[in-house]
C-alpha cells in the first residue's frame, strides 16, 4: 500500500481479524472434535437415513461447501467491501454454532434433529469459506510491503489456535462437570457437549464488537471512491485467462500441498494416535495441545522470514521435509506405543471384565473376551483385550484362535515427551507451508478481485485436498491393510506433485506493491 498504517492501527487490525478468524476455526473444529458424541445424539446408526445425513454433514460441510462459501463471500467482499463481508461470515458462523448447541436430540424430535444439524453445519462451511480470504486480505491491505508476511502470519496462527482452543474447552468441560471423573464424562456425553457450542456466542459477541469499530480496508475504500470496484468479480477472476492461470498456479503449486501437509500434521496425526496407536483419549489430545503450543510461534517466524527471502522456498522446503520424514515419524508413533519392549509388572495386572459373546462370523461359535489392565515397569498402563474363539465344532476345539488388542494406552513420561516432540516437528512443517501463504496469495491478485481470486484456490487446497486427508488416508489403510502407514501415500504424492509444480512455475518475487 502507498501509506503504511500506523503501528497501533495495524495491531488493532490484526487483533480484530485474528480473533474473529480464530473463533470461526474454533466453531468449525468443535463439531469435528465432538463427532462421536454428536453422532450418538443426532445420527443413530440404527437408522440408515440418519446415518446418511451424518455422512453428508461430514463431507458436504467440510469439503463441498467451503469453496462455494469462498465464491459467494469472495464476490461479496470484492463488491461491497472486506469489513462487512467478514462481519457477516462471523455472525453466520457464530449463530450456526450456537444453534447446533440448542437443537434437541434425535430421541426428542426425530428426523428434524439430524436435518437441522446438517443445515447448520452447511452454514458453518459456507461461513468458513468466506472468512479466511477476507481476514487475510484485510490485514495484507493494511500492512507495509516489507512486513506483509509477518503481519499476515498472525492470521495464520488462528487456524491452529482455534484447534487448540476447541481441544482445551472440550477437555475442561469433560473433566469439570462433576467431582468424579466418570460422572463428569457421563454428563458431558448426555448434555455437557453443548457447552462448547454455547461458549461460541460469547466469543463471537466480543469479536463482532471489535470488528464493528474497524474501518474498511484503505485499498478497497480507495477503489470505491475512485469508482473502480469490480462489477463482476467472478467473471473477472475466472473468465479472464491471465487471472485464471494464476488461480490454477496458486492451487496446484502452493495450496494443494500446503493443505495436505497441514491436515496430516494436525488432524491425521491425531486420528492416527487415537485409532491406530490406540492412545488414551485425554493423552492423545494433550500431546497435540503441547505440540501446537510449542510450534505456533513459528508461524510468525516463517511469515516474517518470508519478507526477507521470499515466500516460495520456505513453503516448498516445508513440503519437501514433510515428504521425506512422514514415514519415519509415523513409524515412531507406532514403535513408541507398542507393548513390545516393555516389561510387564505381573503383580499389578488387574482383571476388568470377562464376558462371552456370539461370534459374528459363525453364530454357532462364541468368543470369550477378557479385559485386563496391564502395568509396565516404565509407568505405562495399557488396557488389554484378549479374545478367544470357542468353536461349537468340537473337532476344532484344539485349534486355538486367540487375538490380543491394546486400547486406552496411557503412556510413560518418556514416550509421551517423545510423541510431543514428534508432533511439534509435524506442526513445524505446517508453520513453514502455512505461515507465508496469505502474503503469497494476496500478492498474486489485484485488489479489485483479490478476495474472490485468493479464496477459491485456498479453500480447494485446504478444504478439498487438505480436508479429505484424514478420510482418504484412513480409507487407504482399509484397502492396504498390512501397511499401517499406507494412508500417508496420499499426502506424500499430492505434496510431491505440488512441490514439483511450485518449484518450476512459481516465482519467488515479493510484490512490492499490492496497491493495484
Amino acid at each position: 500500500m502507498t501509506k503504511a498504517s500506523s503501528s497501533k492501527t495495524i495491531w488493532q487490525v490484526i487483533a480484530a481479524s485474528s480473533v474473529g478468524t480464530l473463533i470461526e476455526w474454533y466453531d468449525f473444529y468443535i463439531f469435528g472434535s465432538l463427532a462421536t458424541v454428536i453422532a450418538s445424539q443426532f445420527f443413530p446408526k440404527t437408522n440408515p437415513t440418519a446415518a446418511l445425513l451424518s455422512t453428508l454433514a461430514t463431507f458436504a460441510a467440510g469439503f463441498i461447501v467451503r469453496p462455494f462459501g469462498a465464491l459467494v463471500f469472495g464476490r461479496l467482499g470484492d463488491l461491497i467491501g472486506r469489513k462487512y463481508t467478514f462481519l457477516l461470515t462471523l455472525i453466520l458462523m457464530g449463530g450456526s454454532t450456537f444453534a447446533i448447541g440448542l437443537v434437541p436430540g434425535y430421541a426428542t424430535i426425530g428426523f428434524a434433529a439430524p436435518l437441522l444439524v446438517l443445515l447448520l453445519r452447511l452454514l458453518q462451511g459456507l461461513a468458513l469459506g468466506g472468512e479466511y480470504g477476507g481476514a487475510a486480505t484485510y490485514v495484507a491491505e493494511h500492512a507495509p510491503a516489507n512486513k506483509r508476511g509477518y503481519y499476515t502470519s498472525w492470521i495464520q496462527t488462528t487456524a491452529t489456535l482455534g484447534l487448540f482452543l476447541s481441544l482445551g474447552v472440550i477437555l475442561i468441560t469433560r473433566h469439570y462437570l462433576a467431582a468424579d471423573l466418570n460422572t463428569s464424562i457421563q454428563r458431558f456425553n448426555d448434555w455437557g457437549w453443548r457447552i462448547p457450542f454455547w461458549v461460541s456466542i460469547l466469543l463471537v459477541g466480543v469479536s463482532i464488537y471489535i470488528r464493528l469499530r474497524m474501518n474498511e480496508s484503505p485499498l478497497f475504500a480507495k477503489l470505491k471512491t475512485e469508482g473502480r470496484v469490480s462489477t463482476n468479480p467472478l467473471k473477472e477472476s475466472f473468465g479472464n485467462k491471465t487471472n485464471l492461470k494464476m488461480v490454477l498456479l496458486a492451487l496446484f503449486g502452493a495450496t494443494m500441498g500446503q493443505g495436505v501437509v497441514w491436515y496430516t500434521g494436525q488432524f491425521y496425526a491425531q486420528s492416527f494416535l487415537e485409532n491406530v496407536c490406540n492412545i488414551d483419549f485425554d493423552q492423545s489430545r494433550t500431546i497435540l495441545i503441547w505440540g501446537i503450543l510449542l510450534a505456533t510461534p513459528f508461524f510468525v517466524v516463517f511469515g516474517g522470514w518470508s519478507d526477507k527471502i521470499g515466500r516460495k522456498w520456505i513453503m516448498l522446503v516445508g513440503m519437501l521435509l514433510a515428504i521425506c520424514t512422514y514415514q519415519p515419524i509415523f513409524k515412531q508413533f507406532v514403535a513408541l506405543t507398542e507393548p513390545t519392549g516393555r516389561t510387564e509388572l505381573a503383580s499389578h495386572r488387574k482383571l476388568l471384565e470377562e464376558k462371552t459373546i456370539v461370534s459374528e462370523k459363525n453364530p454357532a461359535d462364541s468368543i470369550r473376551l477378557v479385559t485386563s489392565e496391564v502395568h509396565y515397569s516404565d509407568g505405562a498402563v495399557f488396557k488389554e483385550i484378549k479374545a478367544d474363539t470357542l468353536f461349537a465344532n468340537t473337532a476344532l476345539a484344539g485349534a486355538a484362535h486367540s487375538s490380543i488388542k491394546y486400547k486406552d494406552k496411557k503412556l510413560d513420561t518418556g514416550s509421551y515427551r517423545k510423541l510431543v516432540a514428534l508432533i511439534f516437528v509435524l506442526i513445524l512443517y505446517v508453520t513453514m507451508v502455512y505461515g507465508p501463504i496469505a502474503a503469497f496469495l494476496v500478492e498474486l491478485f489485484p485488489t479489485r478481485i483479490r478476495y474472490t481470486s485468493m479464496s477459491l484456490p485456498y479453500h480447494i487446497g485446504n478444504g478439498v485436498f487438505g480436508g479429505l486427508t484424514p478420510f482418504i488416508a484412513t480409507l487407504l489403510t482399509t484397502i492396504y491393510v498390512t501397511d499401517k502407514l499406507s494412508g500417508l501415500w496420499y499426502t506424500i504424492i499430492v505434496a510431491a506433485v505440488c512441490l514439483f509444480i511450485g518449484a518450476i512455475y512459481i516465482s519467488n518475487r515479493i510484490d512490492p506493491d499490492v496497491n493495484d
Binding site: P48, A51, L52, T55, L56, F59, F63, I64, N240, K241, T242, N243, L244, K245, M246, L248, L249, L251, F252, F445, P446, T447, R448, I460, V464, L468, F471, I472, L475, I479, V497, I501, I504, Y505, S507, R509, D511, D513, D516
Partner: protein, 79 residues
C-alpha cells in the same frame, strides 16, 4: 527453463484423466467389495469433487504448454 515448463505441460494434461481413471477404477472395486450406501456416497463424493479439479489440472497443463507461464504478471496492468 521455459522449455521445461512447456514440455511438462503435457504431463499435467495427461495426469488429469489418469487420476480420474484410477479414482473411478478404485471406486468400482471398493463398491463391489462393500456395496453399502455409505461406501457408494463416499466414493461418489470423491469422484464428483475431483473431476472439476482434474479438468483444472488439464487447463493448467494446456496453459503451460502454450507458454502462458513463461512470464508471470508483475502488476495488475498485465492481468
Amino acid at each position: 527453463m521455459n522449455q521445461l515448463k512447456r514440455w511438462l505441460g503435457i504431463v499435467w494434461i495427461i495426469l488429469g484423466p489418469v487420476t480420474i481413471y484410477y479414482l473411478i477404477k478404485t471406486a468400482a472395486e471398493e463398491i463391489a467389495k462393500k456395496p453399502v450406501l455409505d461406501t457408494k456416497i463416499q466414493w461418489a463424493v470423491f469422484i464428483i469433487i475431483f473431476i472439476p479439479i482434474a479438468i483444472g489440472l488439464v487447463i493448467f497443463g494446456y496453459y503451460a504448454l502454450k507458454g502462458e507461464y513463461d512470464h508471470l504478471p508483475e502488476n495488475s496492468k498485465e492481468i
